[in-house]
């Protein structure tokens, strides 16, 4: 089966990438981890690695072409394989597009929570003040919002309502007050008279007389939720970190054997991340104190009977953490397929609350970016999160001799209110055990 290679998201602000240089020719045999091209993003030029073995069947775009994230760059597969189906499925998206269309933020954003939650996100305010009136004609606002706006000198015409049919409600005024007090170009409350407004618009066209210029980016719902929940987690949960180095030699062999069998059965491939998910799920079963939550309001620690592993997925505006439910009871092929499906849904904004709620543990993988190790912020109400680094080729000492080895560092962030050092270490030992001898995961 031919495999598409897509433009990855290489930085938070990246929307499209320019193919700076091809490093492989069509017909070349490629191994997973090979760098096939260099991609220039808004930040830097970065190596484009592939995650699969095969022959480079087609270079879909030319050097200098720019395509959005998720656009088709190349196709891998067996020599001589037909690539027309893949080309057709990407038609439009794959073609080099000069004016890459970034998904425009919808006029009224749904307040879609980003991360799994058992506690509700408080009514999330929608930031507003745009320079020009948003609503033509009659403005819909709750009586309370009208009164607050009048008292605080806010022009309702400049706000976007978050209520039904764009109704401006209390939280919209509160949000406007917050952003008005921030040191933004529109620091002062909006004046109703038209003249100053025109002046303000004109002023925004020329760089400010003093100080550096900058672009003001509207804070999306997703970024707000990320900001709120992660700040809350980091400042409330006493985090500590445990890092362990895992010998991935066996896992690499195991995975390639597994994927041969999977290919024969026309199943999707199993990724290293799927192996880690499974290893974590089985270990969580053995270490209930890691599969736990600190429930402040209830005055209890909750040891979950089910194992639901959330996986952090980067999307346009930030990240989401869809959940593989009952991961301990699922096979690797199923975990792989579900993860892929959830990630796709996430990127297409098709996830439902069902998909992102109920996690008992979370993993975050930056290995594909070459990150050797990092620490992640716990995703409440989980007690722990595992940060997965890249698999490195590294010299190791084996029986007194220096030999080539494959190593991967994983770092567990623990909420010390629930998990102590020994508990977290025992859990990591268990994860390492499974990954170093992956056959044991099948027991």
């Amino acid at each position: 089966m031919a495999i598409p290679v897509e433009m990855p998201k290489m930085s938070d602000t990246m929307e499209e990438g320019v193919l700076a240089a091809w490093l492989k020719e069509e017909g070349d045999t490629i191994s997973a981890g090979d760098v096939v091209a260099q991609v220039e993003t808004d930040k830097a030029t970065m190596d484009l690695e592939v995650y699969d073995d095969g022959v480079l069947l087609k270079r879909v775009i030319e050097e200098g072409d720019s395509i959005p994230i998720g656009g088709l760059i190349a196709i891998l597969g067996k020599a001589g394989e037909d690539v027309s189906a893949i080309l057709a499925s990407y038609s439009g998206g794959s073609a080099p597009v000069a004016p890459a269309e970034a998904p425009a933020p919808a006029a009224v954003e749904e307040s879609a929570p980003v991360v799994p939650q058992s506690a509700p996100v408080a009514p999330a305010p929608v930031v507003a003040p745009a320079p020009a009136p948003i609503v033509e004609g009659r403005i819909k606002a709750s009586p309370l919002a009208r009164k607050l706006a009048k008292d605080k000198g806010i022009d309702l015409a400049l706000l976007q309502g978050s209520g039904p049919e764009g109704r401006i409600v209390k939280r919209d005024i509160e949000a406007a007050l917050v952003s008005a007090s921030a040191p933004a170009p529109q620091a002062a409350p909006q004046v109703q008279a038209p003249a100053p407004q025109v002046a303000a618009q004109a002023a925004s066209m020329v760089p400010a007389a003093s100080g550096d210029s900058y672009e003001s980016v509207r804070i999306s719902q997703m970024r707000k939720t990320i900001a709120k929940r992660l700040a809350e987690s980091k400042f409330t949960n006493p985090h500590f970190y445990l890092t362990i180095d895992v010998d991935m030699g066996n896992a690499v062999d195991f995975r390639s054997r597994l994927n041969e069998k999977a290919a024969a059965k026309e199943l999707g491939k199993v990724s290293f991340n799927d192996l880690v998910t499974k290893a974590c799920a089985l270990s969580l079963r053995q270490h209930p104190w890691v599969n736990a939550s600190w429930m402040e309001a209830e005055g209890e620690i909750r040891l979950h009977h089910d194992v639901h592993v959330a996986i952090a997925v980067a999307v346009d505006e930030g990240l989401i953490t869809p959940v593989v439910k009952h991961a301990d009871r699922k096979g690797l092929a199923q975990i792989g397929a579900e993860t892929k499906d959830l990630a796709t849904k996430g990127r297409n904004k098709e996830l439902t609350p069902e998909d992102w709620s109920g996690s008992t543990f979370t993993t975050s993988n930056l290995g594909m970016f070459g990150i050797e190790e990092f620490t992640a912020i716990i995703n409440p109400p989980n007690a722990c999160i595992l940060a997965i680094g890249a698999i490195r080729d590294t010299p190791v000492v084996d029986n007194g001799a220096v030999v080539p080895g494959k190593r991967m560092k994983v770092t567990l962030s623990c909420d010390h209110r629930v998990v102590d050092g020994a508990t977290g270490s025992a859990f990591l030992g268990s994860v390492r055990g499974y990954l170093e001898d992956p056959v044991t995961m099948l027991l």
Binding site: K147, S162, V169
Partner: protein
């Protein structure tokens, strides 16, 4: 605190008032020999004798008129309706005589009478035995309407009703007669008419609910609390005079209101409350007021239909989410 059934609390209130004031007497169908259709007056015939605990024929119009006349002449009757559905037979005595004589006589006659009994739906009793009459009677100037949701309020408010010099309609419920609850054992326990009770304090939404609906409100508040939202529950206890001040103060805090009302919706108590709230708290409302009522049809007989006819907990819960804009 003693634990009493709702019916025992009513009996205690009547007994205490009859011991305190010999002008008080109880009259109605089956109240004496049979000890009350719902055993509210059990033992009272033995205690007070047949001159003060009086069985009547099935003739509501007759014995209500008799009660109004007795009240005009200085006695303080308690008239029991087996259910308020039967009060419609005597509606002229209640609305034209009891409610208006004090006004029409220029205050020369007082009418200190209590009409009490079961009100509202009580399961598969069909259309003519399931009416919530509080909305109907509270439109009439001159009548007071009380709808206690629990034994403690039942006792404290019935004692106040008996001492009031105006006609009071005191509405109970078949399904609550057996309900147990703590009742103050303070000597001469009186709850003033016209004071709402804040049953539960909250900050995000105000739920107003009386009588049986109050218990739906408390369940909804618990569900919301589990999700991190804080609901304030207000039991008005007295429908007329209505303690609108307490409701308005609450809405000034929460900015949102859901009313649960077992009445049929058209021109109901919830309609009236909604009007009064917008009149006094317009600038404090962040969402339209939502009410959950019985359906706008005669009460059906079939089990599934009468259950559907009644205000639904789920609807009230969803309404709270809607006014908080969190759906």
């Amino acid at each position: 605190m003693a634990i009493l059934q709702y019916r025992e609390a009513l009996r205690a209130a009547m007994t205490e008032e009859m011991e305190r004031d010999e002008r008080v007497f109880l009259m109605g169908e089956e109240v004496a020999e049979y000890n009350g259709a719902y055993k509210v007056s059990e033992g009272m015939l033995e205690k007070f004798g047949p001159k003060r605990i009086i069985d009547t024929p099935i003739s509501e119009n007759g014995f209500c008129g008799l009660g109004v006349g007795a009240a005009m002449n200085g006695l303080r009757p308690i008239i029991e309706f087996m259910t308020f559905n039967f009060s419609f037979v005597a509606i002229d005595q209640i609305i034209n005589n009891a409610a208006k004589i004090r006004y029409m006589s220029g205050g020369q006659f007082k009418v200190p009478i209590v009409f009490r009994g079961a009100n509202g739906a009580a399961g598969q009793l069909a259309a003519t035995h399931n009416t919530s009459t509080e909305s109907i009677y509270s439109t009439v100037p001159g009548l007071k309407v009380i709808t206690p949701s629990n034994p403690d309020d039942a006792k404290g408010l019935l004692k106040s009703a008996i001492r009031d010099d105006n006609p009071v309609l005191f509405m109970e419920s078949e399904v609550m007669f057996g309900m147990k609850g703590e009742v103050s054992d303070a000597e001469d326990y009186i709850i003033p008419i016209g004071k709402a009770r804040i049953a539960r304090e909250g900050t995000d939404v105000t739920i107003v609910a009386h009588s049986k609906s109050y218990w739906i409100a408390m369940k909804v508040a618990e569900r919301l609390e589990y999700e991190g939202y804080s609901a304030e529950v207000i039991d008005p206890r007295t429908i007329r005079p209505l303690d609108i001040d307490t409701i308005v103060e609450s809405i000034k805090k929460t900015n949102r209101c859901v009313i649960i009302d077992e009445s049929n919706p058209f021109a109901s108590i919830s309609s009236e409350m909604t009007y009064q709230i917008q009149e006094r708290a317009f600038d404090h409302l962040d969402a339209p007021i939502v009410r959950i009522t019985a359906k706008d049809v005669p009460a059906p007989y079939a089990k599934n239909l009468i259950e559907y006819y009644m205000p639904q907990e789920e609807d009230a819960y969803q309404a709270c989410k809607r006014v908080m804009y969190v759906q």
